[in-house]
C-alpha cells in the first residue's frame, strides 16, 4: 500500500512540486505562485534547514467563544466538546468543573470516579491514536493499523459507558449522565489488562524498530531552558524532564484519591515522547483499574441549581495533550458572559516551532506530529526558500512521502 503511495508521490514530483535531482531529492517549486493558499505553518528554509516558522492557525477558527455567549449553560457543554473530537470529554469536563466552581458545589464521589475513568480512557485512546499517526507519518503504516485496531477496544468501553465513541456528552452539571452498567466493571478490568500487554509490546517495538529510530532519535530536541521560557504543557513539557501534571498538582475529579504517577523522560526528542506517552498509557490503565475497584457507591448525579450565580472561575485539567484551561465568567444570567478556552495545542505551538528549527523538510511530519496537534494542522504547509526567494505550498501527504524517500536514501 505504501508502494502505490510512493508511486503517486513520484507522479506528483513530475507535476513540478518536487524534483528528484541526480544528487538526491530536493524540494522545488512553486506550483501556483499566484494562488494564495492558506497554510498553518510557513517554513523559512536556508539551504535545507528550517530557520524560522510562522504559524497561522486561521483554519479551524470558527468563533466558538463568541457563540458560547448566546447559548445556555447546558447547551454550551455540547458546543465545547466539539472544539476537538479527540479530547472532547476533557473540554466538557473543564467547562463543567468551571461552572460547578461558580456555585460552591460538591458532586457525589461516585461521579468523580466515573469522570476520572472516562478521562483516563480518553487519554489512552488519544495516545494510541497519536502513536498510530506517528507511525503513519514515518512510513510505518503497519504500526498505524495495529494500534488503531487495539484502540477500538477503548472506544467500545467508552461507548458502553457513555453511549458514544467520540462526542460523549457524558458530564453534566452535578455529575455524569449514566451510571456504570452491570458487568461493565469486569469488562473494563480485562480490557485494561489487554491494553497493558499490547503497550508492552509497542514499547519494545518502537525502541528496536530501525525505521522509527532513525526518524525519531535526536529529532526535534528541546530542553528544560526552552520549556521554562515557552511554557509548553503535557507530554511535550514532561519529555524534558519537568514533572508538571495538573492531575497531580491540582487534582480534580477523583485524582486526589486515585492520583497519577507523573511520567517524564529526559531526552526531549520524539523518541522519548513515544516512550513517555506509552508509559502514560500504562499508568492510565492502572488508574482505571484502581478507580473501578474502589468505585464508591451512591448517586452518580445530583441536581444543580437552576441559575448559575455571578462570578468568575478559573479551571484547568490535564487533557491528553496537556493543560486545558477555561475561564468562565457569569453575570448571573441564563447564558455565560464570557468563556475563554486555551487549548493545549495553542500552548505548545511555540515549542513545536523550536523543535522544527534546524531540521529539514523531511523531518517536518514527524516533528509536527510530536506535539500532537489536531489533524488539520498538517494539511497545508507553506515553504519559503529564503536563499532563492521562492515560496510554495505543500500538502501533508506529499511531505510524508518526501520524508519516507529521504530517509530511505540516507
Amino acid at each position: 500500500m505504501s508502494d502505490s503511495n510512493q508511486d503517486k508521490g513520484r507522479t506528483e514530483a513530475g507535476a513540478g512540486l518536487m524534483r528528484y535531482s541526480p544528487e538526491g531529492m530536493m524540494p522545488f517549486g512553486p506550483i501556483h505562485p499566484s494562488l494564495k493558499e492558506p497554510e498553518y505553518f510557513k517554513l523559512f528554509l536556508e539551504g535545507e534547514k528550517i530557520v524560522q516558522v510562522e504559524p497561522r492557525i486561521g483554519y479551524v477558527h470558527r468563533g466558538i467563544e463568541r457563540a458560547a455567549q448566546e447559548r445556555t449553560w447546558v447547551k454550551n457543554i455540547y458546543l465545547f466538546e466539539r472544539i476537538c473530537g479527540i479530547c472532547s470529554f476533557h473540554h466538557s469536563l473543564t467547562y463543567t468543573e468551571g461552572v460547578e466552581a461558580l456555585a460552591p458545589f460538591e458532586i457525589p464521589r461516585r461521579a468523580k470516579y466515573l469522570r476520572e475513568v472516562i478521562a483516563e480512557l480518553e487519554r489512552i485512546h488519544s495516545h494510541l491514536l497519536w502513536l498510530g499517526l506517528l507511525g503513519h507519518w514515518a512510513g510505518f503504516d503497519t504500526l498505524f493499523m495495529w494500534i488503531w485496531k487495539d484502540r477500538e477496544h477503548i472506544l467500545d468501553l467508552e461507548e458502553a459507558l457513555t453511549g458514544n465513541r467520540v462526542n460523549k456528552s457524558y458530564t453534566t452539571f452535578g455529575g455524569v449522565r449514566n451510571d456504570l452498567p452491570d458487568g461493565l466493571a469486569a469488562k473494563i478490568q480485562s480490557e485494561m489488562g489487554f491494553i497493558e500487554k499490547r503497550v508492552e509490546y509497542y514499547k519494545s517495538l518502537v525502541q528496536s524498530e530501525e525505521t522509527l529510530n532513525v526518524r525519531t532519535k535526536g529529532v526535534g530536541r528541546i530542553n528544560q531552558t526552552i520549556a521554562q521560557k515557552l511554557c509548553p504543557v503535557g507530554p511535550l513539557l514532561r519529555c524534558t524532564g519537568i514533572a508538571r501534571d495538573v492531575r497531580y498538582e491540582d487534582p480534580y475529579a477523583a485524582y486526589g484519591e486515585v492520583p497519577p504517577q507523573v511520567q517524564t523522560s529526559n531526552d526531549g526528542d520524539i523518541a522519548s515522547l513515544m516512550v513517555l506517552r506509552l508509559n502514560e498509557i500504562t499508568d492510565s490503565c492502572r488508574m482505571v483499574k484502581e478507580a473501578i475497584e474502589k468505585m464508591p457507591s451512591g448517586p452518580y448525579r445530583v441536581s444543580f441549581p437552576r441559575s448559575v450565580p455571578a462570578g468568575e472561575a478559573t479551571t484547568h485539567v490535564e487533557a491528553p495533550r496537556g493543560e486545558l484551561f477555561y475561564f468562565v465568567k457569569s453575570g448571573g444570567g441564563s447564558v455565560p458572559e464570557r468563556v475563554k478556552v486555551r487549548t493545549s495545542t495553542l500552548a505548545n505551538i511555540l515549542t513545536a516551532i523550536e523543535m522544527l528549527k534546524g531540521h529539514t523538510l523531511a523531518d517536518v511530519p514527524v516533528v509536527l506530529t510530536g506535539m500532537d496537534p489536531c489533524f488539520g494542522c498538517m494539511d497545508r504547509i507553506s515553504v519559503v526558500d529564503v536563499d532563492e526567494s521562492k515560496e510554495w505550498t505543500v500538502g501533508g501527504e506529499t511531505l510524508r512521502n518526501y520524508g519516507i524517500e529521504y530517509y530511505r536514501r540516507k
Binding site: G63, I64, A67, L79, R82, G85, M145, W148, R380, N401
Partner: protein
C-alpha cells in the same frame, strides 16, 4: 449474507475507490472516524477504498467540517483539481449544514454552498460503518444489503 458478501467482493474487484480527504474546519471527530474506517476493525480497504495523497488521483472527495472562510477557496481548488468523474461526500453534521457551529461567526453552513455534493452522511460524528455504507451507496448507486448501523442519504 453470503450472497451479499460474494456480490460485494466481486464488485470491489472490478474497481477501487480512491478517496481524498479534506478537513474544512472540522473538530477532527469525523476525520478520526474516517481513518478508523480504514483500519482493521472496519477495514474499508478490503472494499478497495484507498486514501490518496492528491486530489488529482481521486474519484471521491470526502469533506468534513463547516468550511470556514479560509477553507472555502482551498476546497474549491481541490474540487477543481479532481478529474471527472468525481463525487463529493459531505461527512458529519458540520459538513451537512454547519452542525452545532451553525451560527458561529466564522463557520460556514455546510459545504454544499461551496461545491456540489453527491452524498451526505449525517452524524456527529457518523460511525465508521455509516461512512462505509455511504460510500458504497454512492458508488453502487443502491444501498448495500441491510445490516449496517447508521444511515446515509443520497441527494
Amino acid at each position: 449474507m453470503g450472497s451479499f458478501r460474494t456480490g460485494l467482493t466481486k464488485w470491489a474487484r472490478k474497481r477501487s475507490i480512491w478517496v481524498f480527504h479534506v478537513n474544512a474546519a472540522s473538530c477532527n471527530g469525523c476525520d478520526i472516524e474516517i481513518l478508523a474506517a480504514l483500519t482493521p476493525r472496519y477495514d474499508a480497504e478490503r472494499l478497495g477504498v484507498e486514501l490518496v495523497p492528491s486530489p488529482r488521483h481521486a474519484d471521491v472527495l470526502l469533506v468534513t467540517g463547516t468550511t470556514n472562510p479560509m477553507m472555502r477557496e482551498r476546497l474549491r481548488t481541490v474540487y477543481e483539481q479532481m478529474p471527472e468523474p468525481r463525487h463529493v461526500v459531505a461527512i458529519g453534521a458540520c459538513a451537512l449544514g454547519g452542525g452545532v457551529m451553525k451560527d458561529c461567526y466564522s463557520a460556514g453552513s455546510g459545504i454544499d454552498s461551496v461545491i456540489p455534493v453527491d452524498l451526505y452522511i449525517p452524524g456527529c460524528p457518523p460511525r465508521p460503518e455509516a461512512i462505509i455504507f455511504g460510500i458504497l451507496k454512492l458508488v453502487t448507486g443502491s444501498p448495500p444489503d441491510p445490516v449496517p448501523v447508521g444511515e446515509a442519504i443520497v441527494k
